[in-house]
Symmetry: C2
Subunit: 436 residues, 2 copies
């Protein structure tokens, strides 16, 4: 605390926990509306409209932070992208400081992303992925866990405090951002727009732990050319691009194995921290034609401290290894393209006040402190950290993230919101809200 | 010759060769129109309209033989199919016998297919695949060789004889059929419609040889299920359907190797007669999601005498081999579907009068007899052979069949038509055409 308001003085734990618990129904309703908005890449706006209404429902004013493709392309920490972003916006709400807050408390960004990954295979879901189904404590749907529950929790926590008559002693900004799942350019645009704070909590589905370190991620797309011919003469005249993709993938798997041989801390805690994922493949146009082309789109992790350029070089070396082993591949060298994530890993020190304060808030609700962990995924935290803003992830309990029958524990949504309520008090300070 | 007209008596070689050569420009014009009609599966009608006009331009009456999905599904020799065929037709022209033809000559079907395979990779073509480009003797375009040149040659041969005042001494039917590249159901429908003859020549791009034996072909589609998860946890939680497809393909390649170990005659003339072709692959929906599904569509050959059911069993055994070697695959056994070709191989005896007569006609133009060969592909010939009608393939010189920059030699189109003109005389007999 820099000055002024003493945390905990004005508001008791019990008052905060009760105020947030009273918003359980509101958070659940918000979550249903969010999940039923199928906010895959390019279709984020349906969810942003819901978030705009939710922020208004907290008594906050909202504004749009529109994505600016040109500014993003020039920005440090940006990833390459080939799609149009001009119609996209983040929705931001500034929660104004209250009476007697001058100079007091630490400012905060609460951040969540509205975009979701596609359903993976809709036919494998028990219920349609964008229709909410409840079963006891679980709510099912794509994005329920990752991370609309987090958006509902952070918004519910703020709403509870506002309705109880409190305001923060330092600026709090709520951000509902786009494109976390492919570039992080929603969060980056907020920073380009001037967002700054003493700390940032991203309410990703990281339950019962605070995430302080994350890998970087590289997306790469390999276009492989074959020599098409009639299948009847495949072995004499043709060179099948699908077979060639298998050779390239084998070389990439060898590269992945090498990267996992001796992980640096804190990633030595993982058996296999760097995951290569051949996420999409598409090749050929007729069963009786030797496949002329095959495109393999993959994701691979990189350790903090490693430049994404190095990761690109590693991928290209693996492809070159496949080419060196195959005269036919050498005749038509595969082309590596970058589109989407090309981002560094990041680490926040466990001793940071942000981590300690959030950990303490968690401990006051749960009786013990949460684990402090690393993740083998990336999150928008890196953009804040790059700007010198400590950022961690903490949020509700989701399962089936990027999988089938994704779900979130509704109790964990309320509990996450309660922890956030305590944390806002402890980090920012709470003062009486201004009378209009 | 059974009776009546003695072949060669009425018309000299020279007269036929000159009459057909005079149609070279007409054939080329027809071929341009045919190639520029992009008659891929489902879009055949644009080409059938051209063929209808071409048959009318020979002074023949035409009729449509519409595909009947229900009848085809029940027919012997049919392949499974999941698409709609009710709007498709073959275009047929009957060339009526002439004066004094009663009981004379042997009847004939001249058959070609209007459908073409897709361009494999349009961006690899020097010129757009459905825009004709001429370079010296070569005409470029998808379908130029396979087999619109054959349609032009057979039609040009008949037009030349009609315009010279001749008619056959036995029934001749010209057939422009659909779906040769996926089921052969166009040709099969003509047979269900009652088409019969003493022999059939299919003007496929089989230059300087007569094809008397062919493999069967099986198309099969393998749906492989993975366990999607976040790529960050791929190695712990996920099972990637693209990796699984690689395992299945490896087992299929081992199956293919076994099939090529000891080929029966006449396929022992080939180093590798049975080609497995993984022609199309599609899997996954997001680079950072472990692929939930992957579908591999392949083609494999089978030897004459082998039932397509056996080929299915062989494929399924190969898939089972992959499953047995992979506990993760065993949890989600791949599903094999059949859609498209499921057809037997076929053989015509080299001593058949049809082969000898066509060989003789070729020899009269070229000074030596053509090779008599087997092919590692299938053609519509099998449907005629199954009905007891000897059927062979012979036609123009095409290159890049099912490949890039497909082309056909225009001189070979004229020469093929000349051979067909001589052959019609020798097989059917020629008599004066009827005066209207």
């Amino acid at each position: 605390m820099r000055t002024g308001v003493t945390p905990g003085e004005l508001v008791s734990d019990e008052a905060i926990l009760a105020a947030v618990a009273a918003e359980a129904g509101w958070m659940e309703e918000l979550l249903i509306r969010l999940v039923e908005a199928p906010t895959v890449l390019g279709a984020e706006e349906a969810g942003q409209t819901v978030m705009e209404e939710a922020f208004l429902g907290c008594g906050l004013e909202t504004r749009s932070v529109r994505l600016d493709g040109r500014a993003l392309r020039d920005a440090e920490g940006a990833s390459p992208f080939t799609w149009d972003v001009e119609d996209k916006r983040n929705v931001v709400a500034d929660w104004p400081t209250g009476d007697g807050a001058a100079g007091g408390g630490r400012s905060l960004i609460l951040n969540g992303h509205i975009d979701v990954v596609p359903p993976a295979a809709e036919e494998l879901w028990t219920h349609p992925p964008f229709r909410v189904v409840r079963d006891g404590d679980w709510m099912y749907g794509r994005g329920a866990g990752d991370m609309k529950a987090g958006l509902a929790a952070m918004t519910g926590a703020v709403r509870a405090l506002v309705r109880a008559g409190y305001a923060p002693a330092a600026d709090v900004q709520l951000q509902s951002v786009v494109e976390e799942e492919c570039t992080g350019h929603g969060a980056l645009q907020c920073l380009l727009d001037g967002a700054r704070a003493d700390g940032c909590v991203i309410t990703e589905p990281h339950p019962d732990h605070i995430t302080v370190a994350q890998v970087g991620v590289l997306w790469f797309h390999i276009d492989i050319a074959g020599v098409p011919a009639h299948a009847a003469r495949a072995s004499r005249l043709g060179f099948n691009a699908i077979d060639a993709a298998v050779e390239v993938l084998a070389a990439l798997r060898r590269h992945e194995a090498r990267l996992n041989e001796d992980p640096p801390p804190p990633f030595d805690a993982f058996e296999h921290p760097i995951n290569l994922n051949p996420g999409m493949i598409s090749g050929g146009d007729w069963p009786s034609t030797v496949a002329a082309t095959c495109t393999l789109s993959s994701r691979i992790g990189l350790y903090p401290g490693q430049d994404p350029e190095e990761a690109c070089a590693g991928v290209e070396a693996a492809v070159a290894e496949a080419v060196a082993a195959s005269p036919r591949l050498a005749e038509h060298p595969p082309r590596v393209r970058y589109d989407g994530f090309s981002c560094e890993g990041s680490v926040v020190d466990k001793g940071e006040p942000l981590v300690q304060t959030l950990s303490g808030a968690y401990g006051r609700l749960h009786g013990e402190r949460p684990a402090v962990e690393a993740t083998t995924a990336t999150t928008d935290a890196r953009h804040f950290i790059r700007m010198g803003i400590p950022a961690v992830c903490f949020g509700p309990r989701g399962e089936g993230i990027h999988g089938i029958d994704e779900r979130v524990s509704l109790r964990s949504v309320v509990e996450s919101a309660q922890v956030l309520g305590l944390f806002v008090r402890d980090w920012c300070g709470l003062v009486p809200g201004r009378k209009e």
